[in-house]
Amino acid sequence: MSINKINRRTLLTTGAAAGGVTTFFGPWKYNRVLAAGHTKPIKIGLTSDASGQYANSGASDRRGMLMAIAEYNEKGGVLGRMIETTHIDTETTPATGSRVAERMISREEVGFMIGAVSSGVANAISQVAQKYGVIYLNTNSSSPTESGENCHRVKFVWDGNGSNFAQAAVKNAITAYGDKWMLLTNDYGWGHDTAAATRKLLDQYGGTVVDEILVPQGTRDFSSALLQIQQAGPDVVAAAVGGDDQKSMRQQVAQLGMGSSPAWINNQQDWPDVYGLPIENLFGVFGTTWYYKLDLPGVADFVAKYQAMYPDTSMRVPGNVFYNGYMATKNLLAAIERAGTTNNIAVIKELEGHVMSAEDRMQHHDAYIDPVTHQVQQTIYLATANSAPTETDDLFEIVSNTSPDEVQDMGAQASCNLESYDDTPTFDA
C-alpha cells in the first residue's frame, strides 16, 4: 500500500473536490481510520430494487450476483480476501438510489456496487459512485443514455441497450415483414431514445414510419392505441414500451389476437417479466442477450448450478437478468484478481477494453468492454415465442444471433465523455 493512496475515510472527508478551499474543520477528523489489512473482507454493495416496478427483476439480478460471489468465496475469495455483501432496497426510485449509494459508501464502506434495472436508479447511483470513485456495475438497465451522455468512469454497463437491439432487429424485419412501420413509444426517455434509433435505421434501410403513437408512462389500457394501429394497418409495429406498461400491453395484444398481424418488434424482453405467463402473451420478435436453452457448452451446467443454489425460487431457470447480474459480478472479481489489487483505478483499467471469450460468456461471439463507453459489446439475440417447446419453461425460440460489431451503438460512442482518471478519486477497497 503506497502512501499517496488515500484511505476510504480520508477520501470521504476531504470530498471529491480535493484542493478546494475547504477551511472547514468538522467532526469527521475523529472518525475511525480503518486499517486496510489484506485479511479484511472485500465489501460489495448490492443496489438492486426490491420494491416498486422492478422488484421482480431486481431479485433475479441479485441472485445472479450472489451466485458469482458464492463461486469466488468457495475458492477462497479474491486476493485471499473473502467477499461480503450488503443489500439495500433502491425502491425503483432514483432519489432512493442516491441515498442508498451514499449510505453504502459512507456507512457500510463498500468497495464496489452492483445492480440496477431502471436507468433512473442506475444513473443516480453512478453519480454518487463517481464522486467517491467507487466502481459501479449497471447490470440490467438497457437505456442508451447509460453508456452515452450519462456514462461515468466508474460505471460499467452490462446489458445490451435499446440501440443495439434495434440494430439487430430492424434490417431483418423490413425484409421479412415489409417497410410500412408504425412506432408505439412510451412517452419518456428510454422510449424516445429507442424510437429514435429505430427511425434512423428505417431511414437507412428504406422503411417508412406511417405514424408514431406516444403512450404515457403508467398506461394500463392500450385499447385506443390498438384501435389506431388497426386503422392505420402497418406491416410492422415497433414497440418501445417498458415495465408494467409492457406487461399490460402484451396481455391486451394477446386478447385481440393482434400478435402476428401486424408483425411486432419489441425492443427487449426481460425474462422475469414473462416467466410463467402463457405463450400467447409473447408475441413478435424481441431482443435478449442470453437464453437458458442456447446450444452452447456450459449452459446446461450453469442452469443446473442455478437450480442447485436456488431450489425454492419460483423461477426455475435463469434468464437474461440473472445472467447479466452473474456475468458482471464474475468479471469484476476476475478483474480484481488480474489487477492484483483492489485499487479502483487499477481495476477500472483492467476492465476497460477487456475481452471476454464467447466460451466464458456462453454466447456465440466474443464480447468486450468498450473502453470509450464502458458498455459491454456482446452478442444480441433475436427471439420469438416458441411454438414447439420442449418443456414448460422453454418459452423462447432464438431466431438469430448478431455479433457485437454489427450492432454497436455509435450514438453512445459520440455522446459519452468519461471523466479522466485524475478526476476520479482513488482508493483501495
Binding site: 472547514f24 467532526p27 432514483p94 442516491s98 444513473n123 419518456y188 426517455g189
Partner: protein, 338 residues
C-alpha cells in the same frame, strides 16, 4: 382531543427551551451521527426534509388544509435550482432564490385555484395539480431531463464576504442546510404566533366562523399555501444540491403522501415540533429496517397502522403526555384556545 392550540406555547419568546434543544441537536449532529450508526448524508437529507415538513405543517397542521400533492413544489424548487446552475450561473444564492421563487409562483398559481375550495375537494385538487406537475416533469424532457432527471447539478460554494466555503463535502452542506433550517424555524415560530398565525388556526377550527369574523379567508388560505410551497422550494433547492440531481419522482403522488404520513406520525397536528419527530422517525426507521430486511415496508406499514390506532396524536403527543405525567403539572393550561 389534543390540538395544536393546547400544547403550551411560550409564544411570546424568541428562543424557547425547545428551540435551544433543537439547536444543540442540529449543530452537534455530525459529531455523533456515526456513533449511533448513521452517516452524514442521511443527516443532510433529514435536515432538508425537515424544512419541507415544517413548512408543510403550516398548511397542514396549523391551517388544516390537506395537500396531497405537495411534492410538486419540492420538485419545482429542485429543478429551478438545477436549471439556474446550468442555464444562468453557478451561484448558491441565485439558485436558492430561484428555487424559492419558482415554487412560490407555482404555489401562488395553484393556490389561487384552490383557495375557494374546502376539505376533500381541496385535497383532490392538490392531487390533480401535483399529478400535472409530475407528468410535465417527465414529459418536458428538453428542460427537466425526463425520468432520468436533471443531472450533474453542481454544489456552488458558499460565498461569504471574507471567505468561501466548499459545500462538496456532505458535512459542510449539512451545516449550511442546518443553519437555513434553524433560521426558518425561528421565522415559523414567530409566524404561527403572530396575528396571522392565529387567523390560520381559526380557519382550521372553523372556516365559516373565521369568515363571519370578517376575515377574507381565501386570502389567508392562499398565503399559507404559497408560504408552504416556498418552504418546499427551499428544501427542493437544497435537495438537488444534496443529490446533485433533480428527479421527477419526488413529485409523484405517493411521495407527496409520505410527507403527510411523516407529519402526522410525528404529531404535526398537535405540536409545532411534530414534523421533526416524524421526519426523523421515518428516515431512521427506513434506514435501519431497510438494512435488516427486504420486507421493511411491511414492518413500517404495521408500525404506522398501530400508531394511527393507538397513538393518533403522534410522537409529539406521546412526549407531551409523558412530560405532563412526570412533571405532575396540572393540565389546566390545556383549555386555552387562541
Amino acid at each position: 382531543m389534543m390540538t395544536l392550540s393546547n400544547i403550551s406555547a411560550r409564544s411570546n419568546q424568541w428562543i424557547t427551551p425547545n428551540i435551544a434543544i433543537m439547536a444543540v441537536f442540529l449543530f452537534t449532529a455530525p459529531f455523533w451521527l456515526t456513533a449511533v450508526g448513521l452517516y452524514d448524508y442521511i443527516g443532510l437529507e433529514i435536515v432538508i426534509w425537515l424544512i419541507y415538513a415544517m413548512g408543510f405543517n403550516l398548511l397542514f397542521g396549523y391551517t388544516g388544509l390537506h395537500s396531497f400533492g405537495h411534492g410538486a413544489y419540492l420538485g419545482v424548487g429542485a429543478y429551478a435550482f438545477g436549471l439556474f446552475q446550468h442555464e444562468v450561473a453557478v451561484s448558491l444564492w441565485g439558485g436558492l432564490f430561484a428555487a424559492v421563487a419558482a415554487a412560490g409562483i407555482a404555489g401562488l398559481f395553484v393556490g389561487l385555484f384552490l383557495s375557494h375550495r374546502r376539505g376533500l375537494y381541496y385535497a383532490l385538487l392538490t392531487i390533480a395539480f401535483g399529478q400535472i406537475f409530475w407528468f410535465s416533469a417527465i414529459k418536458l424532457r428538453g428542460i427537466t431531463g425526463g425520468e432520468d432527471g436533471l443531472l450533474n447539478i453542481p454544489r456552488p460554494e458558499l460565498n461569504l464576504l471574507v471567505t468561501s466555503i466548499d459545500l462538496n463535502n456532505n458535512v459542510a452542506l449539512y451545516y449550511f442546510a442546518a443553519i437555513i433550517l434553524f433560521i426558518l424555524i425561528l421565522f415559523l415560530w414567530r409566524l404561527v404566533h403572530s396575528p396571522f398565525g392565529r387567523i390560520l388556526q381559526a380557519i382550521r377550527q372553523n372556516e365559516m366562523r373565521a369568515s363571519f369574523a370578517g376575515y377574507e379567508v381565501w386570502r389567508f388560505k392562499l398565503a399559507a399555501f404559497t408560504i408552504s410551497a416556498m418552504f418546499a422550494g427551499m428544501a427542493g433547492g437544497l435537495f438537488s444540491m444534496a443529490q446533485q440531481s433533480a428527479y421527477p419522482d419526488v413529485m409523484a403522488v405517493h411521495q407527496s403522501g409520505l410527507i403527510v404520513m411523516m407529519v402526522l406520525i410525528g404529531g404535526g397536528l398537535v405540536s409545532f415540533w411534530g414534523p421533526v419527530f416524524g421526519v426523523i422517525l421515518y428516515y431512521v426507521a427506513r434506514d435501519i429496517l431497510g438494512g435488516i430486511t427486504e420486507a421493511w415496508l411491511l414492518w413500517y406499514g404495521l408500525m404506522f397502522v398501530l400508531m394511527v390506532m393507538f397513538r393518533p396524536e403522534g410522537i409529539a403527543g406521546v412526549i407531551h403526555t409523558l412530560n405532563q405525567r412526570f412533571s405532575k403539572r396540572p393540565a389546566t393550561q390545556k383549555a386555552q384556545v387562541t
